[in-house]
């Protein structure tokens, strides 16, 4: 399964981003193929509609799940309507979140 984690920096020790729309990076993690890549979020500088633009980026990566600290109402709705599950209210580093996710699976 492919999942997305919003992150502050492009490395595994970075904290998970507290926001979705203007999160600096998205980690796209393909858990079966052990394929990980950080995607830059082009929406960080947008004045309005950053959540929608960020969701567009995430959706095009064909992920099934988004993990983030917090997410705006618009982005949440469009992600869920696209069949993507959203888990918010998560803190910690990317590494910790990944391990916790694998354990709880």
């Amino acid at each position: 399964m492919k999942i997305c984690i919003a992150t502050n920096k492009s490395d595994f020790n970075s904290a998970i981003s507290p926001i979705f729309g203007r999160a600096p990076y998205f980690l796209i993690a393909d858990l079966e193929n052990k394929n990980f890549k950080f995607v830059k979020n082009r929406a960080t500088k947008f004045i309005r509609g950053a959540g929608i633009a960020a969701a567009q980026t995430v959706v095009s990566e064909k992920v099934k799940l988004v993990i983030v600290g917090n997410i705006g109402p618009r982005a949440k709705v469009v992600l869920e309507q696209s069949g993507i599950k959203v888990i918010s209210n998560i803190t910690g580093t990317v590494k910790e979140v990944l391990e916790r996710f694998k354990k709880e699976d």
């Binding site: 309005r48 929608i52 969701a55 469009v78 696209s82 069949g83």
Partner: protein, 284 residues
Amino acid sequence: MQKIAITSGKGGTGKSTIAVLFANKLVKENKKVLLVDCDVECPNDYLLLGQRLKEPRKKIYVKFPKLNKKKCKKCGLCVKICRSNAIFQAPRKYPVFIKDLCSACGACQTVCPYKAIQSRKEEIGRIFVNKIKKNPAPTSGTGRGFWLITGQAKPKVEETGPVVIQVKKFALSFAKRKKIDFILFDTAAGTHCPVISALLGCDLAYCITEPTPMGAYDLDLILRLCRKLKVPTKVILNQADLGDKTKIEKIVKKFKSKIDKEIPYSEEIVKLYSRGKLLDFDLV
């Protein structure tokens, strides 16, 4: 006809108060004046003038996009063109329009090769016209009044630039009919869309500020915006004797603008304001 904007980066510097007093001053000089309240999210010039907004003279509509699924081929061109990020499309799904982000610019309709985007009219605001009958003050010179046009956005409308554009259009044709000498646009605070829409095409912008750090910071922003829009500026320093104005003077110099007027703090104006007798105050 002179088109003058009364604007300020910072809120609460006295835009509306000065706009109203300035209109009154011009009337006393025997000019035909139209004051346009472009602060459509919270218009209050009518309150300062003791007026009520009754029947709207005109309703403002915009055309929001609406998808015809029969014609849509899901090509995604509309998503790419939208500068407001108001269109979302999941892979192989129909695009979704998010109304509260949409500025109704029509770009998606223009770009759609299959003519799949139709439009849906929706009211976003109203225009009111008030005649301010002669100055109630005994000192009033001519007894001539002036016109007030008020733009008001509908509650919950987030993108109010289009409201301002249409209010301005209405005001300009109104001014032409009435052979107005001075048309004053009282803008919203800030440097965002509705302010830009109000400033565009003006012959002069009075930028109101106050001698505080925030007043200085926001003056820099508004002067920068006016330079970009090629609108000449003059600065009015309100409550000029209260703070430290060195920062303001520096910024004014940087933009080659000038401080046109310094208005000292006055308890009299506050009292008149709260009694709804603002027009009794003489702006020199």
